[in-house]
Symmetry: C2
Subunit: 266 residues, 2 copies
């Protein structure tokens, strides 16, 4: 899994790179079962929507679920990010966003690095997300929207929104969003389950609510160059990790191997 | 404006008919200016979102705005509905739904006739909406979603939702929506400003919130066969009209003529 020059140029210019069907249906099935298990857990890392029951996001599952542990070290995700960031990376955050059928709430317009800088004192935007779709993302189930090229202006002023959803977020005002969209347009990448979206940590994005009968689960690995680790430990360890050990990628077949291991153990 | 056999067959089978660019950009501009004027008015017919400021929907503007008066008698809207309902129609409701940029809230899953039957005692579903887009409807700005063929099962059980938005609505439960979508799928017609969507009054539909920087204003004419007028006057007259006079359509150029008249008067 090595990005070519054209991909690297697009990422630099537009701030994103979409990789259709990077994972197979079999691998996705393993991860989707893991996500259902995790969302059913009663633990502080699983944040609920305002309704108090629907899972909104589950943090740090690489620490308590074997499929997620392997995904967090998967060469198809870690490789491209290592390549772009130019060296060893550690896991700053790992989360599964549910955007559940009928009840999945919005994520307001924001930059990830905005939060990492303000809350965690991450020195530079030498960190990024790679997002893996666990279901088909369609026009109906709350696709992520990104403002291309919005990563070029650095960290944008933001307000800490504690009201709109159950999860606090540094969000960008409407006038700024309108200006950025005027300049860069808007995209909402869709694709089959198993597709991945890699995006710059300053790329402005958000997602609408999901009122369709289809879940739209996405796993996010937020990977950070080891030299660029956070300096402030304000947020819970399971939200902003404090283990800066370089990730050693596993074998490419690590997820399907898990299926065999489980079958052999039964 | 006469629907052909194929269109009539599709409407009967699927419950909807999309008519791309039925109105010209010039006509749309006249109506869009009217909508901005109306949303800025401080009157009870203009319902605000939960934020108390953003316009959500404006009722009965055909009674206080000349462009809307003409639109409410426009042959390109009234004609197809007369044809389908088989005779004279009156205006049961006229509304402009704003779905404003950034702040436009959802319309939950519902049937229009469900409300007209329960609240207004309209005897039969011999009434329907024709909806006119005043801006381009895209994947970003909260397109209406319809469940094809869901009009075939009559009135579906519903609960009166007074909580979710600023406007009360008879809404259908998630399990039923999931079943209907399993059977009929889901569509979200998109198109240029000036396009129109005609749909059966029992066709289940809803629309997500709009977090894009683009408004998505739609005018709805709810036309009812004159024999089928409502029997109960529970809701305000400006929501559920009580004037059952048959609509006499104006000339096809009535909207552009208004531009000339205004210019001549200045």
């Amino acid at each position: 899994m090595v990005l070519n020059d054209e991909q690297l140029a697009q990422f630099d210019r537009e701030g994103w790179l979409f990789m259709p069907e990077l994972f197979s249906p079999g691998e996705v099935a393993v991860l989707n079962r893991a996500a259902r298990r995790i969302f059913a857990m009663d633990r502080e890392e699983v944040v609920r929507e305002k309704d108090g029951t629907t899972a909104r996001t589950a943090f740090a599952a690489q620490n308590y679920d074997e499929a997620c542990r392997r995904l967090g070290r998967h060469p198809r995700l870690v490789g491209p990010v290592r390549q772009i960031l130019g060296g060893d990376v550690y896991m700053h955050q790992f989360k599964i966003n549910a955007k559940a059928a009928f009840n999945g709430d919005v994520w307001q317009w924001h930059q990830d690095y905005g939060t990492w800088a303000r809350d965690d004192e991450m020195p530079e935007p030498r960190a990024m997300n790679i997002a893996l779709f666990l279901e088909d993302v369609t026009e109906f189930n709350g696709a992520l929207m990104f403002i291309p090229r919005s990563h070029k202006g650095g960290v944008i002023e933001a307000g800490h929104d504690l009201q709109t959803t159950s999860y606090p977020l540094w969000t960008i005002d409407n006038a700024t969003i309108a200006r950025l969209v005027e300049e860069g347009g808007l995209i909402a990448p869709r694709g089959k389950a198993g597709s991945a979206m890699l995006f710059h940590s300053n790329l402005v994005h958000g997602s609408p609510s999901n009122m369709s009968p289809w879940d739209r689960t996405i796993v996010y690995l937020s990977l950070c160059h080891v030299d660029n680790h956070i300096r402030r430990f304000k947020r819970a360890e399971w939200i902003a990790h404090r283990d800066f050990t370089p990730i050693e990628a596993l074998e490419d077949d690590c997820l399907m191997a898990l299926v065999d291991e489980i079958a052999a153990a039964e």
